[in-house]
């Protein structure tokens, strides 16, 4: 007899769970009471419990960036974040940054203009990453800051695009950066 093998979902055994109790989480400005247990990630809370499926699961192990969300304004991998650790935080997803009037966020606009997507599976993560990146450089270097293409490549390298849209993603982030201070 051999040991049971890890199955495809890498989660802790059921024995360590607390009885499901539920918790209150703040998604896109709205509080939700969700019946999740302690091992539930922010990603599963979003996708499985709130049907906010814009955030994608590419690996569930922090290796692809598809699940990127903002927690208190910083980019975070939702698959590596336990929901229970973020009950007091402001969690924002692709649904939360997309204007509700059918328009696009300026970063989404830039991706559209530069054809920076193909299958679209990495795209919500790329957008969330790029928005946070632009905020990061504004905070670090002021509103007029500009990154070189190589710096953008480096700072966007947490987000895999298997369709290989990288040249256009770099162009889109550059465009969004240029438009940011109203200089467009």
């Amino acid at each position: 007899m051999t040991d049971p093998i890890p199955t495809s979902v890498d989660q802790k055994p059921v024995a360590t769970q607390r009885p499901p109790s539920g918790m209150s989480l703040h998604f896109n400005g709205v509080r939700h009471m969700i019946p999740v247990d302690a091992r539930t990630t922010v990603l599963d809370a979003l996708r499985e419990h709130l049907q906010l499926t814009g955030t994608k699961k590419g690996c569930d192990h922090g290796q692809c960036g598809a699940c990127t969300v903002h927690i208190n304004g910083r980019r975070v991998l939702a698959c590596l974040s336990l929901a229970v650790a973020h009950t007091d935080d402001d969690i924002r997803t692709i649904e939360g940054v997309t204007p509700s009037d059918g328009a696009l966020h300026p970063v989404q606009e830039a991706f559209l203009a530069c054809d920076a997507l193909q299958c679209g599976f990495c795209t919500p993560g790329q957008i969330m990453s790029a928005i946070a990146l632009l905020d990061e450089i504004k905070t670090e270097q002021g509103p007029a800051a500009r990154l070189s293409s190589d710096e953008i490549r480096e700072r966007m390298s947490g987000n895999i695009c298997r369709c290989g849209a990288y040249p256009n993603i770099v162009a889109a982030v550059t465009r969004a950066m240029a438009g940011q201070d109203g200089a467009r």
């Binding site: 093998i5 814009g54 192990h61 997309t98 989404q108 054809d115 299958c119 293409s149 369709c163």
Partner: protein, 798 residues
């Protein structure tokens, strides 16, 4: 309408919703009452299953059903393999219908690769199903495993399948064996090269998923799945796996997050979610994990090749021979055996006119994940071989590799050109693509660039690879000859509504290629209507006309002509109806720019909308004409099509660390007339990134037990933004005569030469070290070792 819609770089209409995260992928589907399936996968590369104990698992919270291979007997037939390489004796595990079988949905009696599903658990939640799967106890008797073809073919090797003596699926050959041997024996120069085109994993960003649903009132099943061939999978699953009527199964492909070949295959989860949905009376959903994908979705490449190229001292190539050991993995995948043989073997002469060529492939079973397509499949392996050989030949005779290519390339006046291996190339000027690429790269100034790099501690290398890639799979009789069980036509349906808007429904399914945009462009161009008025539907087998699937870069080059032909039938119908209404002979009426009109008689003109309405009412139609506009056509191409091009990679190798940086990439491609250059350039760039991945970082590694050591995205490196520069692209547009659009495959062609161009560049950079060849991936360590081995052996020789 004045401006041309066809050929315009319109922004994909799919994009805004994708950017908002609003389009629904399979894993996003949540039908009411859904329960979740998880697999228990084999942990051994090769083992007998002595027993499976599900008692503990069955009692766990939320568990609804656990099935093993034994439970499926009499319910699910084995998955079929539908590409049996033609013209040779092949051995396959059987399927009851006399077809080759590609393995059962769940292992029966024996497991043959790590990752093979052994049991499926359905529970209320995914976590409960996963927990229960872990609690299943399997009693294995471990058997010795074989990992490489050489091991598999060795005397006394462990045997995988009773039906396959010696683990040899087929010895496949093509070309002129005797003539090639004679030419090699007589040649002034013979250069040999042994190489390993190692195994890769496509790893689309979206893992596979499937949702099964069953309606007891109608007896109809619905499968929502990550499939690039919904119609074909409907046929194979209903007739050959589930044994149910074709019209009791609906297959829907929702949005697909990349595929690159992998999602055209049948997988165990597809019949299982359907079978279990019926049993349990609830929708069953399965979502793969990244690790599951890496160890169960078809993998690519994996040829060990022993090759010789022969020629004259003044650069004429006279013969080419390749013996290849292909690793099919544990089972024949849906079309894997053909990929590894015909698709590779017939392509080895590349863009060159080589009088004597011969290829033999030993396709073998091993205890690894089944082999299938990887973007550019077969053709990329062949192109890597010939383009490396041409460089080695050039180095041996001391000639510029560009010049050797010039002297041997097929000339435009030789088209259509029989490559003597089974492909009849269609059209194009291969040499012109090369010259253009050389010019863009500044090839003539490369020595100066090398000196400048050297001053910075970098070894600069320039690598050329040309390519021609068989694409656009069809016509049907031709693929029958190749041993593929299936048709290869495509279809389109056009309905023109009374108000003049149009609905186009296509048989092909996209996996990220913006089909809804490019296909609408064809219709808008033909009708002279606004592209936004053309709705495009697809990928639901109950609504769409038949299609054979998106593979081999055939959506646009086979599906596109079907659309154009349907559109022309519509305009012709309008023309005939208008002639009747005008009271003139139909030869006097033309359809132009969205109107039917009689030349020189401005009174006699009607718009597209007028005619749509007239045909809707049907008040005044010519005798025999049916009212309404609802046209379905199919198109089976005259032959394959052959995109081609020339790529040049410029790399800098760090002389201390061996680290390779791709600094420039120049690509000239000819995929025929382009319907949407924005979309095509996206496909080309993505294809290049894919090839760069194989060249520099990607490899699936197994240990001797069959464990995949690279089963996640930390261990299996995929290019990231920092790994690729901006690309320098140019295009030529030579139509193929094989379809009315003249379109050639564009989705994978540019992957075909990339790995060779990058490897040629690295070998060029290291030429001064005496490095002749390095097997991919060209990681810093591999390159450093090659540099140092060459240096050491040279200093020892001195």
């Amino acid at each position: 309408m004045s401006e041309r819609v066809f050929g315009a770089g319109l922004k994909p209409r799919e994009d805004p919703a994708l950017l908002r995260g609003e389009r629904q992928y399979t894993a996003d589907i949540a039908l009411p009452g859904t329960v979740h399936m998880e697999f228990l996968r084999s942990e051994h590369g090769h083992a007998t299953i002595r027993g499976i104990d599900v008692t503990e698992a069955q009692a766990m919270p939320g568990v609804l059903r656990i099935v093993t291979g034994a439970d499926l007997e009499g319910h699910l037939m084995p998955l079929p393999c539908i590409w049996v390489p033609g013209g040779v004796e092949s051995h396959f595990p059987p399927h009851p219908y006399g077809l080759p079988g590609a393995g059962t949905a769940l292992a029966t009696g024996r497991v043959r690769f790590i990752g093979e599903p052994v049991a499926a658990v359905v529970a209320e939640t995914r976590a409960q199903a996963a927990d229960a799967a872990r609690a299943i106890r399997v009693d294995y008797e471990v058997l010795p495993a074989v990992i490489t073809p050489e091991q598999a073919l060795a005397d006394g090797a462990p045997q995988l399948h009773d039906a396959v003596p010696g683990n040899l699926n087929a010895r496949w050959t093509c070309g002129d064996a005797d003539g090639t041997e004679a030419a090699l024996a007589e040649a002034e120069v013979v250069v040999k090269l042994d190489l390993h085109n190692r195994r890769t994993i496509n790893s689309p960003l979206e893992p596979r998923a499937a949702v099964g649903d069953y309606d007891p009132l109608t007896g109809e099943y619905t499968l929502y799945a990550t499939t690039q061939s919904p119609h074909n999978h409907r046929f194979l699953l209903s007739a050959l796996v589930l044994g149910i009527p074709f019209n009791k199964l609906r297959v829907v492909a929702p949005e697909i997050g990349g595929s690159f070949g992998t999602k055209g295959y049948l997988y165990p989860d597809m019949p299982l979610v359907l079978f279990l949905a019926k049993e349990l009376g609830r929708p069953v959903k399965w979502q793969d994990s990244r690790e599951g994908l890496m160890c169960s979705t078809v993998q690519g490449r994996d040829h060990r090749q022993y090759a010789s190229i022969a020629g004259t001292r003044d650069g004429k190539i006279t013969a080419l021979k390749c013996t290849s050991y292909a690793n099919l993995g544990a089972y024949p995948s849906t079309i894997g055996p053909g990929v590894a043989t015909a698709l590779m073997g017939r392509s080895i002469t590349g863009t060159y006119d080589i009088e004597h060529a011969f290829c033999e492939v030993f396709a073998t079973f091993t205890n690894t994940v089944p082999l299938g397509a990887q973007r550019g499949s077969g053709r990329a392996e062949a192109t890597f071989l010939i383009e490396r050989l041409v460089d080695r030949f050039a180095a041996t005779i001391g000639m510029d590799p560009a010049e050797v290519r010039r002297r041997n390339m097929v000339r435009p006046e030789q088209q259509p050109f029989d490559n003597r291996m089974g492909w009849l190339y269609d059209s194009g000027d291969y040499g012109a693509a090369l010259e253009r690429a050389l010019e863009m790269a500044g090839y003539a100034d490369r020595e100066a660039a090398k000196r400048a790099a050297r001053a910075r501690g970098k070894l600069l290398g320039v690598g050329i690879s040309t390519f021609v890639a068989v694409c656009g799979v069809g016509p049907s009789p031709r693929i029958a000859k190749e041993g593929m069980l299936g048709g290869s036509w495509e279809s389109a349906n056009i309905r023109v509504h009374p108000t003049g808007e149009v609905t186009l429904t296509i048989g092909v399914t996209g996996t990220g290629q913006s089909h809804e945009t490019t296909f609408a462009q064809i219709v808008a161009q033909e009708f002279g209507v606004a592209v936004d008025s053309v709705q495009v539907l697809h990928s639901d087998t109950t609504k769409a006309p038949y299609g054979q699937g998106t593979y081999g870069s055939r959506s646009y080059s086979v599906g596109g002509p079907a659309v154009q032909i349907a559109a022309r039938q519509v305009t012709d119908k309008m023309r005939l109806a208008a002639a009747h209404m005008f009271g003139v002979d139909d030869s006097a009426v033309v359809f132009r720019d969205g109107s039917v009109l009689v030349e020189g008689d401005p009174e006699k003109t009607k718009t597209f909308q007028d005619m749509a309405m007239a045909l809707w009412y049907g008040w005044d139609l010519p005798p025999g004409m049916e009212p309404a506009i609802d046209v379905t056509t199919t198109f089976d191409p005259a032959d394959f099509n052959y995109p081609y091009g020339a790529h040049i990679a410029v790399v800098e190798v760090d002389e201390v660390t061996g680290d390779v940086e791709l600094v420039r990439y120049i690509a000239v491609n000819d995929v025929g007339p382009v319907g949407n250059p924005l979309v095509v350039d996206g496909q080309i760039e993505g294809s290049i990134v894919h090839g760069v991945g194989q060249a520099l970082m990607e490899v699936a590694q197994y240990d001797q037990t069959g464990a995949l050591l690279t089963a996640n995205l930390d261990r299996y490196a995929i290019p990231r933004a920092a790994d690729v520069p901006f690309f320098e692209l140019d295009r030529m547009e030579t139509p193929t005569p094989h379809n009315p659009l003249g379109a050639k495959g564009a989705g994978e062609a540019a992957t075909v030469p990339t790995a060779a161009a990058v490897t040629n560049a690295v070998c060029d950079a290291l030429a001064e070290f005496g490095v002749q060849h390095i097997d991919m991936p060209l990681t810093a360590e591999t390159v450093w070792r090659a540099m140092n081995a060459a240096t050491t052996s040279r200093s020892e020789a001195q």
